[in-house]
């Protein structure tokens, strides 16, 4: 791999930089403003830190800037106690005022946090968040939120447009070095509050113009840790260096659903939705279209990602997510959609056809749609895969003009967001009015009650009760057709760094852009000699 010149390659001096590619950014802009949706990579992972780090891999919450926290009995407030001795990278101490200021700023610039009544600094190290209703999911949202230094940001004129080129933060790697359009380095924060965990000398980010070029660099051993999609990873990556090259794709992401527009016949018929679900071969989909990197869904909608919440007995008993062409055909016959001459007919005698819309950029989902199309043909349904640009697709989703589509679901620490997104009436908008979730426009009052009940539930057992109710409802109604879990991709080489999360030691996922990335950064050790 001569001539490639990446300093990281083969470097085991102990001072080697952890090299991370970004396949989705061809160039970087020096913007370390966490308020910006396009902040430079690592702004929220290595530069700014949250109060609590939640790991999707093991579901654990690690105290971070907050040493401990307490939820009020009525669920209407939350109190965090900040860790002592945390300093900003300019030497100033972290105080409760910083936390208060951060949330004020956030609300002012970006809005959101509708449930949050007020944030008060109880004392220098205690912050209290008061809500206007009992709302348990708030813990993850607030706890996972980055904290900004008030003494810096209060002087910034327009925080939304501030590019924050030299961030002052609490994270382990806050010094920006050698910033160039296609690479930059993050060096150690000299004032870090847990210096023992700053074992790597720094991080180098590299920009790539797409999966292809990033993957070439990765399989060539020039970068350490990637989150990009690597086709056939066993062959293209692991086989290159069996000893050092590893990957781990835990299912942590949200469920990917096939949504059917329930405002349209025949998709308003749960029997049809279930029959269509039975007709598709999820194994084929996950294996071929998703490269075997995802897991098939089950009829709770919670498979793998939320195993902790899943009603396993329900999952074992229901069948509408099991591939069975004959059963699907029979179910359709029974629901009144007869087959004639190899083509299935609607009740009005017209042929049963449907469109599947997927954004053109999502090549893997296009393949998923193509497999669905193939499977539906077996039960006499003609599907057409439509792949305009994502913006056009989303537009048809938002307006409710689509037939069917493959769509993500809301992500959260608990299945709360998922069920709210697919079943709550609160989010249902009439066709023609812009919906931001629940595009398939299915709502059920029973679900609303369960969802609210979950948010207000004071403890886990009562939460679990609501969750089981939701799963049962989901199984009965099939509001969407769950396809597979969204995996959290991640692969690494331990030729230069060790201490990676693995299936055996799942302290974090292998993603390098999420909340638990900081755990990895503070666990890695350079290989020496």
């Amino acid at each position: 791999t001569g001539g490639s010149g990446a300093a990281g390659a083969g470097d085991t001096s102990g001072n080697q930089l952890l090299t991370i590619p970004r396949e989705d950014l061809a160039t970087f802009t020096r913007n370390f403003n966490p308020l910006s949706p396009q902040a430079a990579p690592m702004t929220l992972q290595a530069v700014y830190e949250p109060l609590v780090v939640h790991s999707m891999a093991d579901g654990k919450d690690t105290p971070w800037l907050a040493a401990k926290w307490e939820q009020a009995k009525d669920g209407k407030s939350l109190t965090f106690t900040l860790r002592e001795g945390v300093k900003w990278s300019d030497g100033q101490a972290l105080t409760a005022d910083d936390v208060v200021y951060t949330f004020q700023l956030q609300k002012k610039v970006l809005g959101g946090f509708d449930y949050l009544d007020k944030v008060t600094a109880v004392d220098a190290h205690t912050v209290k968040f008061s809500f206007n209703k009992p709302f348990s999911p708030a813990f993850f949202e607030i706890g996972g939120h980055y904290i900004l230094p008030k003494h810096i940001w209060s002087k910034v004129k327009d925080p939304a447009k501030f590019t924050n080129p030299n961030p002052v933060a609490t994270g382990p790697y806050t010094k920006i070095e050698k910033f160039q359009s296609q690479s930059y380095e993050l060096h150690k924060n000299p004032d870090y509050w847990q210096p023992a965990k700053q074992q790597i000398a720094g991080i180098r980010m590299l920009a790539f113009s797409g999966n292809d070029s990033a993957n070439v660099a990765f399989t060539n051993g020039e970068v350490d840790w990637t989150q990009s999609f690597i086709p056939d990873i066993e062959k293209s990556f692991v086989a290159k260096d069996k000893k050092h090259n590893h990957y781990w794709f835990p299912a942590t992401g949200a469920m990917i659903n096939w949504q059917l527009n329930t405002t349209k016949a025949p998709f308003n018929d749960p029997a049809v939705r279930k029959a269509l679900s039975t007709a598709i071969d999820r194994d084929q989909i996950t294996k071929v279209a998703m490269n075997g990197y995802a897991e098939p869904a089950d009829c709770t909608g919670l498979a793998r990602t939320y195993d902790k919440w899943r009603d396993t007995s329900l999952a074992a008993s229901c069948t509408w997510t099991k591939y069975d062409t004959d059963a699907a055909a029979k179910a359709l016959d029974a629901a009144g959609y007869k087959e004639s001459g190899g083509k299935r007919l609607l009740k009005n005698g017209k042929p049963f056809t449907l469109d599947i819309s997927v954004g053109s950029a999502s090549s893997d989902w296009i393949s998923v749609a193509n497999i669905i199309k193939q499977d539906l043909a077996k039960v006499g349904i003609t599907a057409t895969v439509k792949t305009p640009d994502w913006s056009a697709v989303v537009n048809s989703y938002e307006q409710g003009t689509f037939d069917t589509g493959i769509v993500w679901s809301n992500n959260g620490a608990t299945p709360y967001e998922y069920f709210r997104g697919v079943m709550s009436t609160v989010m249902v908008k009439p066709v023609g009015e812009k919906a931001t979730e629940n595009y398939h426009r299915y709502g059920d009052k029973k679900a609303d009650k369960l969802i609210d009940g979950f948010a207000a539930a004071p403890d886990e057992p009562s939460q679990r009760e609501q969750m089981n109710g939701l799963q049962k409802l989901y199984d009965e109604e099939a509001p969407v057709v769950p396809l597979f879990t969204g995996p959290e991709w991640g692969a690494y080489t331990d030729a230069r760094f060790t201490g990676w999360p693995t299936e055996k030691n799942p302290y974090a996922t292998l993603g390098n852009r999420n909340g638990s990335t900081i755990l990895v950064l503070t666990s890695l050790k350079p290989v020496k000699g």
Binding site: D212, V216, P231, S236, K287, V288, N291, S360, T387, A392
Partner: protein, 303 residues
């Protein structure tokens, strides 16, 4: 034996004439370059037409026998999604050739109309059309293509439309220049004096004299069409559910064909594009040679 002819005063041999004495087509067949090109094209056309018969199975059928190297069962192997590469390549010829030739014909038709109108009417019409042509010519093609392709609904017709919109200008310029020089010829003035109508003059008097230029620009447009379609599709701006050489390459690249060593998914479509473009280019140069005998290859004289 070469026939000996005596210099004749009354029939001077002007170079442009022989082209018409024998049809352009006949001469093309006599030209070695053109023959190679035409044969290749015919072969591809045949493959495209017969794809449903020749291709082993449905090209888009996804299954789990992915990434197999070429073998007796799959002559060109399979893609990562288990699709038969031979079937994809054969079916791909249909879309690619169809788009290429449609774009070529449509862009040339636009260019002919613009070029002729510009040359025939002159003055303001010419100024306006020339400006439009030059603007389209100078607008960076691929970027414009990308923008257009992104905002129109995907599909073969969009690709065609977009390519025609961005592809006609070059030909229009060439055709206008040619038409203008013919416009200045006395036979056009003679037709006017005889009392012919403008449209008839444009299409019956001027156009037939531009046969070879029309042919050259047509071939150029087809090459452009095929190449640009592939480029667009490769960038994911085409319709990825259509089987064409461009989408084949798009999928190959998506599936990391080169990285996983599945070269057979990547090579055939690219080679086909190149071969078709090469064939068209050969015919193109042959047309040049025929209309401009100076360009003909010098034969080494025997004895």
């Amino acid at each position: 034996m070469t026939a000996i002819e005596i210099a004749t005063a009354t029939t001077p041999t002007t170079p442009a004439r022989p082209a018409r004495r024998r049809g352009l087509l006949r001469q093309l067949i006599d030209n070695r370059k053109a023959l190679t090109g035409l044969t290749l094209l015919a072969l591809f056309a045949l493959l495209a037409v017969l794809a449903p018969v020749l291709a082993p199975g449905d090209p888009s059928l996804i299954n789990s026998t992915g990434s197999r190297a070429p073998s007796a069962a799959h002559w060109l192997g399979t893609t990562a999604k288990g699709q038969d590469v031979l079937a994809l390549t054969l079916w791909g010829a249909r879309s690619s050739l169809f788009v290429g030739f449609t774009v070529g014909l449509a862009a040339t038709a636009v260019a002919i109309v613009v070029g002729l109108a510009s040359a025939y009417f002159g003055r303001i019409v010419d100024d306006a059309l020339t400006l439009a042509t030059n603007v389209f010519l100078l607008l960076p093609g691929l970027p414009l293509l990308i923008i257009l392709a992104a905002f129109l609904p995907p599909g073969t017709s969009t690709v065609i439309l977009v390519l025609v919109v961005t592809g006609w200008a070059g030909s229009a310029r060439v055709l206008r220049a040619q038409a203008k020089s013919i416009r200045g010829k006395d036979f056009v003035a003679a037709a006017v004096v005889t009392g012919e109508r403008p449209l008839r003059i444009m299409f019956r008097e001027i156009l037939p004299n531009m046969a070879s230029v029309v042919m050259t620009t047509l071939l150029g447009c087809v090459i452009f069409g095929i190449g640009a379609q592939a480029g667009l599709e490769f960038l994911g701006l085409g319709d990825s559910s259509v089987v064409s050489w461009g989408t084949n390459l798009y999928w190959a690249s998506n599936d990391g064909a080169l990285m996983t060593g599945t070269w057979w998914a990547f090579v055939p479509s690219g080679l086909c594009i190149a071969l078709v473009a090469f064939a068209l280019a050969l015919v193109n140069y042959a047309v040049d040679e025929i209309t401009n005998p100076r360009l003909r290859s010098v034969k080494k004289r025997r004895g």
